[in-house]
């Protein structure tokens, strides 16, 4: 281990953390502007050009705000909880490649555009993602507030349930790539993205991630209309900002994971492979593609928030256990079968749609029977 290797890691880690932190700040701006656009409002446009300094103004305000610690709280856990929430959100992105290897050596070293390419990358992601739930549960419990406790309980139940579907969609990507290593998964999508090979699992992944990062319509733990602010009711100032930061960084991180696992990672569209737009010819296009893909996914998250009502807590659990999990299991069997027989990828696509159609029909049917039961009750 020479000194430059350490320096390289330091620089890359620093860059990643900085990107995530500023990304978080500008994601709040992005969300507010996009929401405002969808809701016939203007949104923040006063601080700086088009409101671009708004995140800085918000940060300054939160830093100088009084840190309130209520009397009856568990002080240690109360302070620990935001930290436990925010750290996994930042470190989760360490295994994700955001570009190919730089083709020329710098100081005699080949530079790769990822921090660590561990061979169980997918497992690492699942493991780290689960830690974040502790922060929320601890916050809910340590606050000594009934609303916060309800929020914490909701979140633990929700995250544990949705992690199953999430984990199973990781399995699909692993099956298709034949490796758990993030770089291998990206390379395997050179020809065709996994989102095309297994579209249903990609959808399940995206739905489960919404639940995992507590975004609408699964923002149960902080359901403003029900639990005032849920688990962070008692938090203020920078402690609140840390929760807020964790949620938005997780949004970015989880979008990056989605891109890596299902949308070709840092790679271009498969039909651009031989052109100038390929990352094989211009390595610096990798981070740009990654960025654009993440922005598109984030836009979808904001769009969903603007459109959909919140699903009810018990229905959310029912959906997770009765629909998502069985469907994910069936889809894995489909993929495994197709792979075992060595059939072409589009067979997988069509085969995956069959269980999906059945699931949609069952959900639709249950809603219709609910409607009918309601009429007969009246």
């Amino acid at each position: 281990m020479d000194w430059f290797m350490v320096l390289e890691w330091l620089i890359k880690s620093f860059v990643l953390v900085m990107v995530l932190l500023t990304g978080f700040a500008y994601l709040t701006w992005f969300e507010r502007r996009v929401l405002a656009f969808m809701q016939v409002r203007i949104g923040p446009n006063r601080a700086g050009w088009q409101g671009l300094l708004q995140p800085i103004a918000d940060a300054v305000k939160l830093i100088f705000k009084e840190e309130l610690v209520p009397n009856q709280v568990e002080k240690l856990l109360f302070v620990l909880a935001p930290i436990v929430t925010v750290v996994p959100a930042v470190v989760i992105a360490a295994v994700l490649p955001w570009g190919p290897t730089i083709p020329f050596p710098i100081f005699g070293r080949t530079i790769t555009l990822y921090i660590a390419d561990i061979n169980i990358g997918v497992l690492y992601i699942t493991a780290i993602a689960s830690i974040a739930v502790y922060g929320i549960v601890l916050a809910g419990w340590a606050s000594n507030n009934k609303y916060a406790m309800l929020g914490g309980m909701r979140s633990s139940a929700q995250m544990v349930s949705y992690e199953l579907a999430l984990g199973l969609s990781f399995v699909t990507a692993t099956l298709l790539a034949g490796s758990m290593q993030a770089t291998h998964i990206v390379d395997a999508q050179k020809g065709v993205w996994f989102a095309l090979v297994q579209p249903v699992m990609a959808i399940i992944f995206l739905v489960a991630t919404l639940a995992e990062v507590n975004r609408a319509p699964f923002d149960m733990p902080e359901a403003e209309q029900e639990l005032t602010a849920g688990y962070h009711t008692e938090y203020s100032g920078m402690k609140f900002a840390l929760f807020f930061m964790a949620e938005y960084i997780k949004m970015i991180a989880i979008s990056a994971i989605a891109v890596t696992l299902f949308f070709g990672g840092y790679r271009e569209f498969w039909f651009l492979q031989t052109t100038w737009f390929s990352v094989d010819q211009n390595w610096w296009l990798g981070p740009i593609y990654m960025f654009l893909k993440i922005v598109v996914l984030l836009f979808f998250m904001v769009w969903i928030r603007a459109t959909l009502p919140r699903i009810r807590y018990d229905r959310l659990m029912a959906f997770g256990w009765k629909v998502m999990l069985p469907l994910a299991l069936v889809e894995i069997m489909v993929t495994a079968t197709v792979l075992a027989f060595g059939l072409p990828w589009y067979v997988n696509t069509f085969a995956s749609l069959v269980p999906f159609a059945v699931a949609v029909m069952i959900v639709d049917r249950s809603l219709t029977t609910k409607k009918q039961r309601r009429v007969s009750n009246a």
Partner: protein, 409 residues
């Protein structure tokens, strides 16, 4: 510390189950500062997990003594108090009060004023329903609908501002007519609104009516049977959503409502979704009424010329001694209403809004009482909400459409 705790538990002992006393269930204060209680409603909830076992509404946080205050003011001046009760139905409150005063003293209202009153009352109904739509959609976290609804509400408020100079507290309807005639810009502005609004209602419906998540949140939630609704005195959408056809505009028409062709939307299911559909359809029917009223809007005076009760026009005061005397008497002493009591009911956006007025022969009312629909609808909440989850309770509160100013007055 322990003493305080015991006293409070004693107070609620007869309200909640014994399990709450043992700590098996959780007592949760929802409100008065809570984003979903639509103001300052406090609910004491007994929860088993998130299941509501007991729901005890506690009202009175917004008590302003409107009724008592009105006894200290002359009949004309007391009217401004009515705006402040149900701040979503300001014109309707004025309307009810003026009808009561007119009935007490026997005043006639010119045709043009009658039609203008209907137009503005229906416009206010649409405005109130828009606020209900926005806030109750926000209660199930469909946040965009809120802002879309407020966009159209802005248009209605602009029209109210056009005719009265005020956006909410209009006091435009006065005993014996209306304040003054509408400006020429009124009709085009109203027609613009009438053209735009049906499309907007379709837009709201596109976002909610068939949305599976919305259906999931509202179907079969907060059900109340028609008989229960009658027994609890619920009116408005809470009653019509349960299949009881009662609308004061049809049942006991006032101000010429019998001349308009409109329907009373009815649903039989009695749940949150039924009340949602009823109100959405009511907006369409209100548009129909406004349309017809605008077509037949007659020319003529907008105020009664009975100068014993209605101040003479400003232009006459300079030339007519009698007008000056009337004006002076009316604004210093007021008019003397006969001894007796009247009750007048109108259909407010929330249900039957009644005004009981008792005169003692003097210029000030002896007693004013309002039968406000929010108060009666709110007491059904425990029946609707018990056995549902906290999240449902929020949707139910939204669907009952309470205005706390109307509850406590």
């Amino acid at each position: 510390m322990t003493d305080i705790k015991e006293v409070t538990y004693d107070e609620i002992r007869h309200l909640v189950s014994d399990r709450a006393m043992k700590g098996e269930t959780m007592l949760l204060n929802m409100g008065p500062q809570h984003p979903s209680t639509h103001g300052v409603l406090r609910l004491l909830l007994e929860l088993d997990g998130e299941l509501v076992l007991n729901c005890i509404p506690d009202v009175g946080f917004l008590h302003t003594g409107v009724e008592k205050n009105m006894e200290a003011k002359t009949y004309q001046k007391a009217e401004v108090m009515t705006d402040r009760m149900d701040y979503m139905n300001t014109v309707g409150n004025n309307f009810t009060y003026c009808l009561a005063v007119e009935k007490l003293v026997g005043l006639d209202v010119p045709d043009r004023a009658q039609v203008l009153r209907v137009i503005l009352a229906e416009l206010t109904r649409i405005q109130s329903h828009l606020v209900w739509l926005g806030t109750s959609a926000l209660d199930v976290a469909a946040m965009s609908v809120f802002l879309y609804a407020f966009r159209e509400r802005e248009a209605t408020l602009n029209i109210l501002e056009l005719v009265s100079g005020q956006r909410m507290m209009t006091t435009y309807i006065r005993p014996g007519g209306v304040w003054r005639d509408v400006p020429p810009e009124f009709e085009p502005a109203l027609r613009d609104f009438l053209n735009v609004m049906p499309k907007r209602i379709d837009e709201y419906e596109a976002l909610l009516t068939k949305n599976p998540l919305f259906l999931d949140r509202t179907l079969g939630i907060g059900t109340i049977s028609g008989q229960d609704a009658i027994n609890w005195g619920a009116t408005g959408a809470s009653l019509r959503g349960s299949g009881i056809n009662y609308d004061v505009r049809k049942f006991a028409p006032y101000s010429g409502y019998e001349q308009y062709d409109f329907e009373v939307p009815l649903r039989t299911e009695g749940d949150v979704y039924a009340r949602y559909l009823v109100r959405i359809e009511e907006m369409r029917q209100s548009l129909r009424i406004i349309h017809q009223a605008l077509e037949k809007l007659p020319a003529g005076p907008v105020r009664s010329n009975n100068y014993k009760f209605v101040p003479p026009p400003r232009s006459e005061i300079g030339t007519s001694m009698e007008a000056l005397i009337h004006h002076f008497k009316l604004w210093t002493e007021g008019f003397n209403a006969p001894k007796g009591s009247v009750y007048v009911a109108t259909e407010s956006p929330r249900g039957e809004l009644g005004c009981y007025l008792e005169g003692d022969g003097g210029p000030k009312p002896y007693r004013v009482h309002f039968r406000t629909p929010s108060f009666d609808n709110l007491q059904v909440l425990p029946v609707m909400g018990t056995g549902h989850l906290v999240a449902d309770l929020v949707a139910i509160i939204g669907s009952v459409d309470i205005v706390l100013g109307d509850v406590d007055r």
